[in-house]
Symmetry: C4
């Protein structure tokens, strides 16, 4: 059965992110579905991310004056209407013909941000032209410093406002679901911003992973080199150990994204929500802390912020919405999540993001 085309209007029973997930299946073929839903190995971390948010309990306060409540979020000098950013998902034309253009349009219309992937299927300059709000650029290290810097220079030139360097994926992870489905990019969908794939020059008989891929992976020295070469705010994405957070800060990064890559790279890493308080405690109040993985509700955004995040990224949920209804779907999903966040804030007694702290979470 061939996938349904995207919808042109939102049915009344699409009322939450989980509805989009369920509905998306019919709009994607097996190949794209395996890529989107799959994660590393047994997909335990992908499930744990979601579960951590579901298990965490809120402790609301009542009877406060919240008439002037709002959800505005300031990041690196730019103001967003809410703290929901679209995570740098690769290959979005797998999900909808308009790909990243649709996502960026929706993010902008809804007053939020987006980090555009190195593996975007639209030109990064064209995506930038869609944005009504500042976009960020996500960098996958390109094997060599100068190749990597060239991409950064393009992003700077196109007006991207921050640089998110992914550090948790020197290899793409062993995604059994993709392997079993024999996933491959369909003709016409490609990482159009890259010239060619860097060559893996493993010495004969060496391990493809260590002698091959790891030879192309960035190190702390490479990040320091890059830090010295761009004035864009620099975030490292994919940090799970507090000591790596400290190294990032001390090296001059402006922020980190606490992330396990949606469980897509290494299975059985912890749910990101559970790690946030230790990061905030270690890194201080002024270091920018983002988180992704498992956010499916506005109350999840609230919990992430209560745990110490400044803002959150969502990933698969907006790919589901993109598949179902393109830019309209993504915008509607963002509207739902923002309304859920507002409702959660109103019901917890918080008039702005700065009011949300660990006191609204049940211990344990």
């Amino acid at each position: 059965m061939s996938p349904l085309p995207p919808l042109a209007a939102i049915p009344h029973d699409l009322v939450a992110a989980c509805d989009y997930e369920q509905r998306a299946r019919a709009h994607l073929d097996d190949n794209a579905w395996a890529y989107l839903q799959g994660a590393a190995a047994d997909e335990l971390t992908a499930a744990a991310n979601v579960d951590a948010f579901r298990r965490r309990r809120l402790l609301p306060r009542v009877l406060r004056d919240l008439r002037h409540g709002q959800t505005r979020c300031r990041l690196f000098g730019d103001e967003f209407e809410h703290p929901l950013l679209l995570a740098p998902l690769a290959y979005q034309r797998l999900f909808h013909p308009a790909g990243e253009l649709a996502s960026a349009l929706a993010a902008g219309v809804m007053g939020g941000g987006m980090a555009v992937s190195t593996l975007a299927t639209c030109m990064l300059e064209e995506i930038a032209s869609q944005g009504q709000r500042p976009l960020w650029f996500q960098l996958y290290w390109q094997g060599e410093r100068e190749r990597s810097l060239a991409l950064v220079r393009r992003a700077e030139a196109a007006g991207y406002r921050a640089l998110v360097v992914t550090v948790d994926a020197p290899l793409s992870g062993i995604r059994n679901r993709e392997q079993r489905a024999a996933f491959r990019l369909p003709p016409g969908i490609a990482a159009v911003n890259l010239d060619a794939t860097p060559e893996i020059s493993a010495t004969a008989g060496g391990s493809p992973i260590f002698a091959g891929l790891m030879g192309l992976a960035p190190t702390w020295d490479d990040i320091a080199w890059l830090r010295a070469r761009t004035r864009l705010p620099l975030l490292l994405k994919g940090i799970l150990h507090v000591d790596d957070g400290r190294l990032a800060r001390d090296l001059g990064a402006d922020g980190i994204v606490v992330s396990n890559h949606g469980g897509r790279v290494l299975d059985t890493t912890p749910a990101t929500l559970d790690l946030l308080p230790a990061f905030r405690a270690a890194l201080g109040d002024r270091f920018t802390l983002l988180v992704d993985g498992g956010i499916r509700r506005g109350s999840d955004v609230f919990k992430a912020i209560a745990g110490g995040a400044d803002a959150v990224m969502i990933g698969r949920p907006y790919a589901h919405a993109l598949a179902v209804a393109g830019a309209l779907g993504v915008a509607h999903l963002l509207k739902l999540l923002r309304e859920e966040l507002e409702a959660c804030m109103a019901l917890c007694g918080c008039a702005d993001l700065a009011s949300i702290d660990a006191g609204y979470l049940c211990p344990g």
Copy 2:
């Protein structure tokens, strides 16, 4: 398939609240069922409420003389035959043509109390005339102080004996199940005690939640204002944070209902049973503490009292009984729960409610 009419006699296999729940499905249409069973978002708190009671373990004592045991409960000077009150469920004519009249009749016949909702579908004066026992009136804030007070004055005049102000629902919660079912009140069923819905006067472009609904929501100042204007015992319903309990007490409230609104307003709040001991410890022995959410057994009533409650409210279970067999069903349900409570007390070695304390609960 159209719903079955209410039964006129109780079948022999209706022996517990869970039997009424199962049976009720056939007596309600999809619309009413979605309203009754639904809760906010993923309905995790609704499930957690029930689960907390199921998980809590009792530690009984044996061989005591319990010949003079009884379950009497004194609240604000009135005596009830047992500590089970009917919670203020809205729109009860959704479940049975006699609506709140049937529930009040059943509560009275069985020697228990009921809190009548602001959103009752029968006139509050007529409901009051059904009661053989004191009724309480539940107030939803009506946007303005005088509109709210007018309702209180009617309740006072009709002989209601206590006022329960719901403070956890400045907005009605995002109930996805209701949304998916496109729930609406059927013709002829309405909140007959209200003149009209207060208008939401959000400034243009403002958030419907913050600038709209929250402008109609009560604050601590409003509660203090109301406290000064009625001599009825005043309870605040929907408190989950101990500090809000203290604020309520210090402001002159006579009691609180520890409640998460049956999980219908904000999802992932804690199960109420787990919170009781901290409330009792903080508020002292003389402050009236009620609880609702998840009570399905007489042993649950026992556990709530052991945890620190003076009495409990039941919600959905009596709506199930109302749907199945009207006043007869509700009375039978109350009889079952009271018998289960008596059995639990007898088997635990407690001759009266005052004997029930935390020593009968397993730690942890």
Copy 3:
């Protein structure tokens, strides 16, 4: 479909207690099955008993000399070949025409004990004549002291060697499964050792439970009175609180059975295994401690003893075996459990019951 008759030979695939449970369904009608399998309310404690044994972890020792290992168990001066006693199940002719006679025969043949219920469906004198090993008599209080003592005198005269007074069932528990199945004793099956059911003389309008049943229930004074009138070893069965264990010991009881009545009386009491260590610590090494509830494996017997028990009682499992194959089935079940216990001892490095202690259990 009418129940299958008992088997005359043991099929090769009946290799564990759980096999008997599964197989028993076909040998019992709905009425008997509801009685046997049912428990109080939601049957959570019945399940928790089993689960506690399954969750508890053993820490074995290796390479010890166990050539002279054995499972002998000495209780009140009598020696049994193993520490498995048949619990006092009522109405055993519900499960097999030979009822308690078959069970007592099997226990005796296998070198174990049995506590015969007050509600036996065979004459207690006749049951006593089956036993190759000492039998015990279980007493349900008969409303008045003299009626109760009369039963004890019959048991003494018939050669019963210990008295087990059940103290946790002043009422029989609200067993919803039985109620839904409209359970009743079939014609010809009755508590033949009792003259008649004591009358419940509740004052008009009084609670059937408090003013009725609890007026017939024994108290600590009654137990003390009984203690003074019999030289039989006296055990109280159905104690869950350590303080009641202390009261029993101080009053002159020789032992207790830590029991929740297989979950049949009050639901959501704790699993008995978890309570044992506190009882042993409180009552000292010389007080006899038995346990029942949830034992399905020889390793469960080992765990109970490691937790502090001197011996264990099994209940439903032998009723399953009785239904499947009468005395042969019960004997075979006891053989299986004893072999499992021997294997567990051999694999844990314990040559006798006295060697089994808490060191063989994983903490937590």
Copy 4:
């Protein structure tokens, strides 16, 4: 339906050990399947082994230079390319006509080790000739010292490089699944390295377990006797209590395998992963510590080493691969696991096994 013959090529969707397990069912008859998959009693420990690895969380480090990473493992002076050894599974011709010859060939080709079982279905000398890497010999005690030593002498002569004495199976465990399936060795499959089964000489009426099997079981004295008679490195396999680990070390053993025999001997023993840190702490850094049970992923190998193991053994997974595709399957499975281990090391920031420590595991 008769079992499928082994495959001659690896299908593209066999990408993980769990795929082999699922696929293996079709290549084995019910008899072999019951033997392979079955474990003692309720098979709780077999499941717990796997679950412990799945629940344990990794805490990776990023941006390290890993170009020279490798997985080499040195054990008793021999170097292996990775720390995965094939555990001593009995009767491998049940799974594939080439039996242990195929397994040893695959282990050797992939640069890993294998412990050959006393109950091998091929001659141990012939198996030794397959190995490109050192093989170890697993000894089941043969009832008497000299019979046992004779086997050791054959292993020494055939070039086996270490001796693994299994100490947790003086009896083979009560495997209900095998019993229900009436498992028996098919004609032509036998423990060809043994002359005959030692006779069980239980005294009349004595317990078959204590007076029979335990009379043939080794004791610490026997192990000391053996230790004095061979210069091969000596490991004791099947130790779960730290005190037994100390006894082994003090007696002169060179290492232990923390193992519950894949849950096949005594059910409800703990998952082995959870025990490792205490063993490492008690036994010091220089004592060789191996572990088996539940390893299904390269990340499980990483976790075991982080917990304190020097290397790991896999059992059922390679029997699945053997059944599916013989030596090719086993080699492919080892390749998958090694690649997963490399990926895990690369993603956690570890360049060699010595870098892997408890800091990479989330506490609790």
